[in-house]
Symmetry: D2
Amino acid sequence: MATTTVSRTFGSDNHAGIHSAVLDALAAANSGDAVAYGEDEISKAAIARLCRAAGASQGYLVFNGTGANVLALSLLLRPHEAVICAESSHLNVDECGAPERVLGCKLLAVSTPDGKLTPDLVATKLNGVGDEHRAQPRVIQIAQATELGTCYSLAELRELREFGRSHGLLLYLDGARIANAVASLDCSLADIAACTDVLSFGGTKNGALGVEAVLVMADGQAASAKYLRKQIMQLASKMRFLAAQIDALLDEDRWLVGARHANAAARQLAEALTTVPGVRIAYPVESNGVFTEVTRRLADRLLQDWNIQVWSETPDNSVILRWMTAFDTAEEDVAELAAAIGRAAKTQTHDSSARSS
Amino acid sequence: MATTTVSRTFGSDNHAGIHSAVLDALAAANSGDAVAYGEDEISKAAIARLCRAAGASQGYLVFNGTGANVLALSLLLRPHEAVICAESSHLNVDECGAPERVLGCKLLAVSTPDGKLTPDLVATKLNGVGDEHRAQPRVIQIAQATELGTCYSLAELRELREFGRSHGLLLYLDGARIANAVASLDCSLADIAACTDVLSFGGTKNGALGVEAVLVMADGQAASAKYLRKQIMQLASKMRFLAAQIDALLDEDRWLVGARHANAAARQLAEALTTVPGVRIAYPVESNGVFTEVTRRLADRLLQDWNIQVWSETPDNSVILRWMTAFDTAEEDVAELAAAIGRAAKTQTHDSSARSS
Amino acid sequence: MATTTVSRTFGSDNHAGIHSAVLDALAAANSGDAVAYGEDEISKAAIARLCRAAGASQGYLVFNGTGANVLALSLLLRPHEAVICAESSHLNVDECGAPERVLGCKLLAVSTPDGKLTPDLVATKLNGVGDEHRAQPRVIQIAQATELGTCYSLAELRELREFGRSHGLLLYLDGARIANAVASLDCSLADIAACTDVLSFGGTKNGALGVEAVLVMADGQAASAKYLRKQIMQLASKMRFLAAQIDALLDEDRWLVGARHANAAARQLAEALTTVPGVRIAYPVESNGVFTEVTRRLADRLLQDWNIQVWSETPDNSVILRWMTAFDTAEEDVAELAAAIGRAAKTQTHDSSARSS
Amino acid sequence: MATTTVSRTFGSDNHAGIHSAVLDALAAANSGDAVAYGEDEISKAAIARLCRAAGASQGYLVFNGTGANVLALSLLLRPHEAVICAESSHLNVDECGAPERVLGCKLLAVSTPDGKLTPDLVATKLNGVGDEHRAQPRVIQIAQATELGTCYSLAELRELREFGRSHGLLLYLDGARIANAVASLDCSLADIAACTDVLSFGGTKNGALGVEAVLVMADGQAASAKYLRKQIMQLASKMRFLAAQIDALLDEDRWLVGARHANAAARQLAEALTTVPGVRIAYPVESNGVFTEVTRRLADRLLQDWNIQVWSETPDNSVILRWMTAFDTAEEDVAELAAAIGRAAKTQTHDSSARSS
C-alpha cells in the first residue's frame, strides 16, 4: 500500500480526487470563447456568490493555498511589518519560506499547545512595537481549522479580533479547511468571516481540482489586489474554470456537505482508536484530521503500510502521526484503517511483551 | 459582440476553452486517491514523456506562464544578475513586474523591429560586464513564438545560443506558444529545446485548462528547482490533474495538431485581409497572431464590435490591433471576421470620402 | 597618472577628499558618550536645520546615494508600482539593480536627449494604467543635477510636478548633486524641494566623508521611514558623526560655496576646450561635469593619462568622456587639464594628418 | 542623566565616540584625490592587512553590522535556503527583518539558554531537509561574542563547525564584537576565523566611526560579493575613509587593546555587583556586557537614571537589564555606576521593608 496511486491513503485531504459535480461544472463551462482573467460572466457570478455567502466585499481566485496566504498577507503588510502566527502553522512550516521570500516579511512564530493563538500568546510578540530595530507586528494570522485539526470557537475568534483591534493588528484567517470549521462549529461562513479582515476559502482540499479564494471583508484593503495577484503569479487566464469549481462547491452546499462528511469520518476513526492500546489521540478532533501519538516502533510499523505523515516527535521519543479524511472517505475505509491500526498495535504490544519477557 | 462570453473572440488564444480530450483526461485521472505534489504515477509518467519529447533532463509543471517564466529564471540567476530581453516581450511588459518583484532581477530590455533578439542587439547590453555598479547580464530571454507572432528560425536560435555561450550567457526560451513555433518551423520540439538551457512548454493557450512546464536541458541548473517552485507558489497539490492535461496534449500529437490548426487560421485571416484597403499586416504571420495596422478611426470602429487588444500605436498615429486564433478556431469564424473587417474598412473609407467631399 | 592616489583626477567628484571643516566637525562631535541611532542632540539639531532649509517635514540620514534612492522610493511605492525615470539615470544604470532587488519595483526607463524627463516623455509610459498585467506607474524619478550634468529649470520642475499630480504620480528628486543645481539655478534649496514629494540631499560628492539625507516634504509619506531605513541597512549607530558632517556643510553655506566653486571649474574647463579642435562639448555644462565628444583615438590617448570614465559611445563611433570637478578643484588643475587635452588633440590631429598624407 | 549626550551611559558600546587614533587616520587619509569604491591604495592595503590577520582570502568593507550580516549571508544562500540562528541573536531580533526583506530567507531560530548554539540545538532544525515544503537549512549563524555577552570556546566553535560540515551546513560568524571574544579567549583572530566560512569583523563598537568588514575564508564564496555589496547599498564611494579606520584599529593592536579594556571594565562591574543584594548576574561575563537580573521595582528605579536597555523579562516577573562597557570606559565610571546601583538596591530594599512592615 506504499505505492503512489491507491484507493484511500489517509495521507492528506489533497490525496483525494475531484468531486464529480466539479468535473461536470468544468465541462459545462467549456462552451465557446470567454474573455480571460476573470472578466467573463461565470467568474463574476461565482465570485459574487461566494462574497455574499461570506459577507465579503471582494474576492480573488488563486491557484493554491500558498498563493492565497501570500496574496492575502500582501494586502495587509508594508515591508517592515511582521505576522504573528502559530509556530505549527502551515504558513510558518510548510510554505518553503514563501512569505519571507515573496513578501519579505518576518514571521513572529509563537509556540502553542494546540495550534491556536490566544490574546496572551499574541501579546508575547508585541514588546518591540515602536522600536525601529524590530519588524513591526501588523497581522495576526490564524488557520481555521488549524494544522492540528483544532478549531477556534466563535467566541475565541471574536476575542482575538478584539484584542487585535485594540493593538492595531489586522486578522488574516487561512481557510484552507474553513469548510471543516464551519461544519464543526455548526455556524455560517459569514460568522467566521466577520471576525477577520481578510480570509481564504479553500476548495482544493474539499473536492475541487485546484482553486482557493482570497476574500476581503473591508473595501480599503483591496485597492492593489488585482495587481498583486498577477504579480505573484496567481492570475489564471482561463479563470472561468476556476470559478466553475467554486460554483459547483456552492451548489447544493457541496462544500459544507463534503466537510461534514470528512469530519464525521475523522470522528469515526478517533472513536474506533479509543480502545486501541498504545494509541493516544494527541489533539481534540474538531475537523478532518486525527493525530495519534504512538511509540516509535508502532509508528515505523504503520509507516510501512500507510503513506502518511510523521507529524512530529515528542520529547519522550514517541511519535505523532497524522491521518486525514476527505469529502469522499468511505465508512468502510475508516473501519478498515482502524482495524489495521488495531492489529499493528496488538502485534507490536505482543512483540514488546515477547521481547521483555 | 462586446459581451464577455461569445462564440469566437479573436481577442486571445486564452479566450478559447479546453480541448475535449483534456477534459476526458481529467475525468480519467480522477480515480481514487493519489499522493500529492507530483509523486503519483500519472505525474511522473507525463513529465518523463514530455522530457523525452524535448530532450530535457528534468521538468516541472506549474500553473501559468508567469510562474513558468519566474521559475525558469530563478534557476539561472543570482540576485545581482540581469536578463536581456526584447522590449516587447511578455516578460518585460505583461507580468506586472513579477520578475523584478519575485526574482529581484533587472531586465535589460532591447528595442527590436520584430520582437526578436539578435547577437548584435544582445551585445548592446554587455558594456557593463565586470562593473560592480551594473547588474550583470546572465540570461538571454527570448520567446518562441514571440509576442509579435514571429518565429526565430533554427539557424537564428543557434546563432543566439552560440553568441550567448561565448559571452557566458545562458538562454531561456519562453515557450508559451512553442507549439505554434514547432508547427511553423516544421521542426521537432527537441530541435528548439536543444538551443536553450531552460525552456517552458505552454499548454494553456493550446487546449489545456491551465498548465505549463519548465524544462531543464542540463542537470546542473535544476538542483534547487523543486524548492523554488514551491516557494514561488507554483506547486499544485493535486498534480495528477496538471499532468493529465499534458498527457492529453501529447497523445496523438494534439499539441501540434492544435497549433497547426491555429497557425493555418491566422494565415487564412492574413490572406483574406491582404485585399482590404486600409489594413496593413504589421509583422510576418509566423504563428497564430495577426497584427493589423489601421487608422485610429477604423480601430475605434473595430473595437466597438470586437473584444481585442490595441497592441500599440505608431508614431504616425495609426494603431496596431492584434487578432489571435486558437486550436479550435473555425474556418467560418475567420471568414466572418475577415468580412466584418472588410465591411468596417469600406464604411470608414466611404465616411472619409463623404466627409472630405 | 593612472595610479590610484593622485592630486586631481577629474574622474569623479567622489575622488575628492573631505572638506577640512567636516573633519573638524567630526572631532568636535567626538566628546563623550551620545545615545545611538539619531536620538542625540547633534543629530536632532542637524536634521531640523536641514529640514528648515529645504522646507521639509522630516529628514533621515543615510550612508550613500544608493541607500538614499532606495529609502526614498520605498516611502512612495507599493510592490506593484513602478518608477518612471530617465534611461541614463544613476537609478537605472548604476545601482547594480538595487531598486529591483530591494524594492522589487520595475523601472520604466525613458530615453532622453539630455538626461531630463518632460511631461511628454513621462506620458509615453502611462499607457498601462489600470491594466493588471502592467506594473503601475507611481513615481516620477529625476535627478537634479542629472547624470549628464544638466539641470531642470524651476519652471521645468513645476511643470513636471503639475503633470505628475494630474496623473496621480509622486515626484522623487535624486539630489546627490542638488547643491550644484542650486548653485547653477541661483535659487534656494527650498525652491527645488517644493516641487517634490521626497528628495535626497547629497553630502558625499560635496565635501562630506559620507552622508546623504532623505527629505520628506509631506508628513504622510514618512510613517514607516524609520523602520525602512533600518531594514535596508542604512541606519548608522553613531549617527552624530553623520549629522556633524551635515552641520559642517550647512555652516557658512559651505555646501553651496563648494558647489559654486565646482560649477565654476567646470565652466572654466568647458570654455578652455571650446577652442580645441576635435573636442565637442556634448551636453550643456550646467553643473560640475563636462562631457566631451572626441574620436576613439583621442579618447584612447586621454584614457592612458587620466582615470576618467568613458561615458558612452555614439552611433558614429566617437566617444563621450566625462570630466568631473569638485568643491576643491584648483584653477591651475583645470588649466593644466585643458592644456593636456589640447596637446593630445593636437598630436592626434597631427598623427592623423601624417597618416593620411 | 537621562539626557542624550552624557559622559558615560553604559547603554551601548555604540554610545561611545571615536578613538582619537581613528580620527587622526581620517585626517591623514584626506590628502588629494583618490579613486573611489576601494580601488585606492589605502583601501587595498587595509583590506589585505585585515585578511592576513584573519587568514581570510577576501574582505569587503561595509557601513554597519546589519549590512555585514546581510552581505555575508547573501554569499552563502540561495533563495530557498534558511539560516539556523539563536532566537536571541541580533540577526533574528534587531535587524527589523532585514534578512527576510533583503535576502528573502527564513530564519530558523532556536531557543538557547545562553545565546549559544550547539550541535544538538542545530539538529532540532534539520528535520525538513529534502522536503520541498520546507526552507532548506544551509547556514549556521552564530555571534562571537553573543548578544548575551557570552563567548564560544574554540573547542565549541570547532565542534559546531564539524557538525555543520557533516550536515552540509556553512558557518557564518557575526563578529560585531569579535574583538571582545578574541580578548576573552586570549586567542588570535585567525583561530576564530578558521572555524567559519564567512565572518564579520566589527569596528564600530570598538572605536571606529562606522565600519565593518565581511571576511571570506574560502575563495569560492566570494565570486559575486562585489556586486552584492553594491546592490545592498553597502558600497562606500570614498572607501579610503572606511579603510583608514580599519588601519588605525589594526595599528598597535588597538582593536584588541580596546576590547581588553572594555572586557576588564565589564568584569570590574560584575565583581562590584556581586555583593549587591537583589542583583543577580544573569549570564557569564565573557565580553563587554553585564546582564543583571533585578526586580521590576529596582529596574524602574535604575531606568530613571540610566539610558540602558531592558533586555528581557523573566517568567517570574523580574527584569534583566543590560550594561555595556566600551574601549574608553573609565575605571571611575564603573565604580560610580556600581555604587549607584548599590544605592538604588538599598533604597529599594529599604522601601520594601518599610512597606511590608
